[in-house]
């Protein structure tokens, strides 16, 4: 029950009915009876989370393989002939789109959001379980439509993940007839799935928290996912608008984005369309998308750092405000992706200013992560290794972002490998390190068993050193002016060292790619052979570790919902019996009020 202690006033009873039905109870919620309703058409948020996770990782592996094929081409262009130039463009497009939308967005919000929100907020489930289930199946449909692109005439689109017109729908671009339509349709279906899931996440956070779980007692993981979901709900419509209009340009001959062109010796039938309009719409979605991925990662890494350093998060309130500030500002920086697009140059001033402003709350978060570690009782567990690894890669990617956020520096670096290195470090590697840390951290809760520690460490060190071996040299390539999106580089244009670096990057990428098999093996192996985890192996305070059973059963909490008495960061409280006090332990002997400094 939410609200003040005691029964709600008479007038409120009726309004609260829907919620009370999900609160204290002695029967199963939407009672699954069969294998199908328990594990396939399931309305249980934990099962849906795992469905999202498995699907996202599955399609993510396809994107990983595509990247390795591209790296083989770039590193050893005369040794392998796996792909033709058109295939390269298709691979680059599918790799980018899958990684950003179908892996990271789906995994953070559909996967971790689904699993963690009800458990961390002390709820039985999402408030709209049926819609939650539909969200997953519609997401799966979007993935299937995307994959269908590989099998249609002409193959998937090769327009680059930004799908810029007029290239995307012009003759000569791979997949310009069917591939682009397939991609746009898949994106539209994905947005419907995301909206169904997103409405659930936001409403559950606002309406289904257990008694005592005030907004300012929520773990930062929930804050990150919550604000990221709001960003998604407001930003994805921009992608939908551009997708609808471009589909019509491609199919019925409208001219929203398509100008009149002479292409391959023929004039097209379009006229007057504005490619710049597409870029504005796309990036109005595209930049918040960066934070849709980053904010959940920020939240989760905050919790990992606090739990594994046995110290309260430094500056909790500032962390919450920073998440909100980043969320608001993420809507006014979009055109820093368009400095060379031909837009009014004066806008460059504005968007460079906002880009520098958004660095402030982001930097606050980085300082607070480091200060959380300061004088902490740091346990270098596998999740902690990944969390610390994230701080390195995120600072690295953030600093190169300052270069690209300024117009005068961006112009010469635009469309070079410097950009590729920057965005991979900041929104590829950094969030994925958090994903790995989160998997090692919460796998014991999901499965009841620990992941193998030695394999975990091996996975971390190969991945962490490997990503630097991949992306650090790319900055040098970019500064040398090596352009991105090229199938092959001529030795007449660049010194031999460029090719040597490309070969070294490819070898590193192959090793890092292969190292991910360690994680996959570990996930399956530990499910059967892992050490039993117990209910709270990390001795953590947040509610998901206080469930009566591990893995939590349907309905999460047994007959009574938990009551929360404190924030999620009571670690190493002086006078306490242990070095952590769970959120549902009332103040009393052995569990004093904390002394933290917020």
């Amino acid at each position: 029950m939410r609200g003040a202690p005691g029964a709600p006033p008479e007038g409120e009873k009726e309004q609260l009915m829907a919620y009370v039905a999900m609160a204290d109870r002695d029967h199963e919620l939407h009672d699954p009876q069969t294998f199908i309703t328990k594990y396939i058409w399931s309305q249980d948020h934990k099962v849906i989370a795992i469905q999202y996770g498995v699907t996202a990782i599955g399609i993510g592996l396809v994107a990983l393989v595509l990247s390795l094929v591209m790296r083989l081409q770039l590193g050893f262009p005369h040794t392998f002939s796996l792909i033709a130039p058109a295939d390269y463009y298709q691979a680059i497009t599918m790799h980018g789109m899958i990684m950003v939308i179908y892996l990271l967005t789906a995994l953070f919000l559909g996967g971790f959001g689904n699993y963690l929100i009800p458990l961390m907020c002390g709820s039985r489930d999402m408030v709209f379980p049926y819609m939650n289930m539909l969200s997953y199946w519609v997401y799966l449909l979007a993935v299937l439509i995307l994959v269908a692109g590989f099998f249609i005439p002409g193959g998937p689109t090769g327009a680059g993940w930004t799908l810029y017109p007029p290239q995307a729908v012009s003759t000569g671009t791979p997949g310009a007839s069917w591939g682009i339509v397939c991609m746009l349709l898949s994106l539209g279906v994905f947005i419907i799935a995301f909206t169904m899931g997103g409405l659930n996440y936001v409403t559950t956070v606002l309406q289904a928290r257990c008694r005592g779980m005030t907004l300012m007692r929520m773990p930062l993981s929930v804050w990150g996912i919550f604000v990221a979901t709001i960003l998604g709900l407001l930003a994805f419509p921009a992608l939908l608008v551009s997708a609808v209009m471009m589909t019509l340009d491609a199919t019925v001959g409208t001219s929203f984005f398509m100008p009149a062109m002479l292409s391959m010796g023929h004039t097209n039938t379009h006229g007057g369309g504005s490619p710049l309009l597409f870029q504005h719409l796309f990036w109005f979605f595209g930049h918040p998308e960066v934070y849709i991925v980053a904010l959940p990662a920020f939240g989760i890494v905050s919790d990992l750092l606090s739990v594994h350093s046995r110290r309260h998060i430094f500056g909790y309130r500032m962390m919450v405000w920073a998440i909100l500030a980043i969320g608001c500002l993420s809507f006014v920086v979009w055109a820093h992706h368009m400095y060379v697009s031909g837009m009014n140059p004066y806008f460059g001033f504005f968007f460079a200013t906002t880009t520098l402003i958004i660095a402030v709350p982001t930097a606050i978060k980085v300082y607070n992560w480091v200060l959380t570690l300061w004088r902490g009782d740091i346990h270098l567990t596998v999740p902690m290794l990944f969390a610390i690894g994230f701080i390195f890669t995120f600072i690295h990617g953030g600093l190169t972002g300052l270069f690209l956020g300024n117009v005068t520096v961006d112009v010469p670096l635009s469309a070079t490998y410097f950009v590729v290195a920057h965005f991979h470090m900041v929104m590829g590697v950094s969030p994925i390190l958090v994903v790995f840390g989160a998997v090692y951290h919460w796998y014991p809760k999901m499965s009841g068993r620990m992941l193998n520690d030695t394999l975990g460490r091996l996975h971390f060190w190969i991945t962490f050193i490997g990503v630097y071996a991949i992306y650090l040299p790319m900055h040098y390539l970019g500064i040398m002016g090596v352009p991105r999106r090229y199938f092959m580089y001529s030795t007449a244009d660049f010194p031999p060292s460029v090719q040597e670096l490309n070969a070294a990057i490819t070898v590193s990428a192959l090793i890092v790619g292969a190292a991910q098999l360690i994680l996959l093996f570990n996930l399956v192996y530990s499910l059967f052979k892992g050490k039993p985890a117990g209910g709270n192996p990390w001795r953590a305070t947040s509610l998901e570790w206080q469930t009566p059973e591990t893995p939590p059963k349907h309905g999460n909490w047994g007959p009574k919902l938990p009551v929360v008495y404190r924030w999620a960061y009571d670690y190493s409280v002086p006078g306490a019996k242990e070095d952590f006090i769970p959120q549902n332990v009332p103040p009393g002997p052995g569990a004093p009020a904390s002394h933290g400094h917020g």
């Binding site: 909206t195 309406q207 709900l233 019925v252 309009l277 109005f284 608001c328 904390s594």
Partner: protein
Amino acid sequence: MTLTTAYAALGAGIGLWAFLVTRLRARPWQTKDATGALHEGGETQLTPQRIGLFMFLGVVTSLFGLFITAYHMRMMDGMGHGDWVHLPLPRLLWINSAVLMLGSVAMQWAKGAAERGELGALRARLLAGGLLTGAFLVLQLAAWRELAASGFLMAANPAVAFFYVLTAVHGLHLVGGLAVWGYTLKRLGGAAPPATRVKDVREAVALCTLYWHYLMIVWLVLFGLMLST
């Protein structure tokens, strides 16, 4: 000028953010009042369904807001190089608008009947609201046909293309509303006592009404935009 406006908007946004954070000033690390103040701050007593609808209307606002922005930007571009024409909208659209408004009024009356517990009136008014909305959709299709018969096909001109897109997207939202309306009407049947049946759907009717009013306003904005440009 545009740049000044942009900076002013940024300043306003930062002000709004500063206001928001004043709502989040609790010091959660201080547990001395933990047992007393379990839910300090601006908690709401709204049902999850109502919160969900508000959030969805936010999504709808964002969607139509972006369509309108795209419309405006494309129009400004089109006026620059002469490919934008003023669209002679079918007069039928005035009738359509009136029908949709009547649908909205019927839904409002249905909401009143639900609050008073009048099953018969509720059913009749709910039915009228849905049927009028269905009629609006059919009449919109008739307007499409009329426009197409006058030679204004989708690819003819960006203003025409926007007309078809905006009316289609708006219509699809109404179809979604009609699905919930149908489900609500079905729940009104059954063997339970009339008072219980009305009570069961009261919130659903109120939310449908809100959604209907909202989509009516969206249509009026779209219609006004297309009439004036």
